[in-house]
Symmetry: C2
Amino acid sequence: MKQGPVLYEGKAKIVSQGETGRLIHYFKDSATAFNAQKKAEFPGKGALNLAISEVVFKALTAAQIPHHFIQRLDERSFESMSLQMIPAEVVVRNRVAGSLAQRLQEPEGALLSIPVVEFFLKNDAKGDPLVSEDILVAFYAQRQEDLQECRRLSLAVNQAVRPLFAAAQLELVDFKLEFGRDDEGRLFVADEFSPDTCRLWDVSTGEKFDKDRFRRDQGDLLEGYREVLKRLSQQ
Amino acid sequence: MKQGPVLYEGKAKIVSQGETGRLIHYFKDSATAFNAQKKAEFPGKGALNLAISEVVFKALTAAQIPHHFIQRLDERSFESMSLQMIPAEVVVRNRVAGSLAQRLQEPEGALLSIPVVEFFLKNDAKGDPLVSEDILVAFYAQRQEDLQECRRLSLAVNQAVRPLFAAAQLELVDFKLEFGRDDEGRLFVADEFSPDTCRLWDVSTGEKFDKDRFRRDQGDLLEGYREVLKRLSQQ
């Protein structure tokens, strides 16, 4: 597998040029929170996140939801399509938690009667502000149709992935997606799907198995991620 | 005109029960900003805001946009329909300004290529947080169709009112609306439309004629409001 120059290094991944039209994503062991103000290393986290993401991407394939994942290369790397990224983080929520609980000043855990989709501008320097689709169109030159399709695909991902976690006795509270366009303008789910980018609560006890363990110093992060992978693998 | 008990006292208005199915709105002279952390009295502001609102409501009538304004009663009071209010503040923006400029960390005045509609939960105690239509449906029991209609009407108001101010050499930068439903479920533009609830900039000089004069200590508030009414009256 040809590995070209690093194109992008983020808080948890390194993306390099791969074969023509492809990228290589390498999962780091770093965890960051609060826009990287809190940082730590968790040896093995990268491999766990890749393994969990792979399970999810395979579920998306089964649900005929287009995504960028092509194949795993090794314990920490996978090959993907090379896409023109939409500069947004799309968050789907089934319960009130995290920044939404803060914004509404409501307790975490309140049920939402329908899944909620929120768009955030992907811009660390500006603190990833909450934006509407309107603002992404009016100020960030995005196409209305693309954002509608992102919304539709996000809800489809929710429908496809919730049962997968539910079968593992985990409730999918919320998750973040990113999207990219290929040369023909088709949209694909991109980035990763891991406990770094979603909230997973035990359906019986409410125990958290996601990055909130790190954000809030609630238990061993790796133990949580290992448990998620173990439960998914038993399905 | 029968005036019944006070139903609601807000930062800038007092609403009382009127004849059956009607309300009486009384405009106070108080100005508040930053969720009432900054306060002052401006003798005559209430009358100016009513006079400006009346001009706008008449323009909405001409544009066949349903609204709650029935008639002016005196210098500071008007009679309206009594509606079931939607618990949201709907903001329409033609340029980046105010809280959007802060949120995006972008300079004020940048043009938006299409008008943007944003919903805020109407709840002072929670700081009027930004919410999507989804959240108003999923957590605040609003009907999707009503919010779509609020959005449609908000853009119609923008189209109807921008030319009115443009003819007065004033640019309508943004404004806030509220909506209510009658017994048959029809939606009406409610509340007021004044320099307390919109931004108006001189088209040539960019001088501000709205509540930002007070928020930012930029000039005499009453002088600004008087100039708005004078220019509108000369049309």
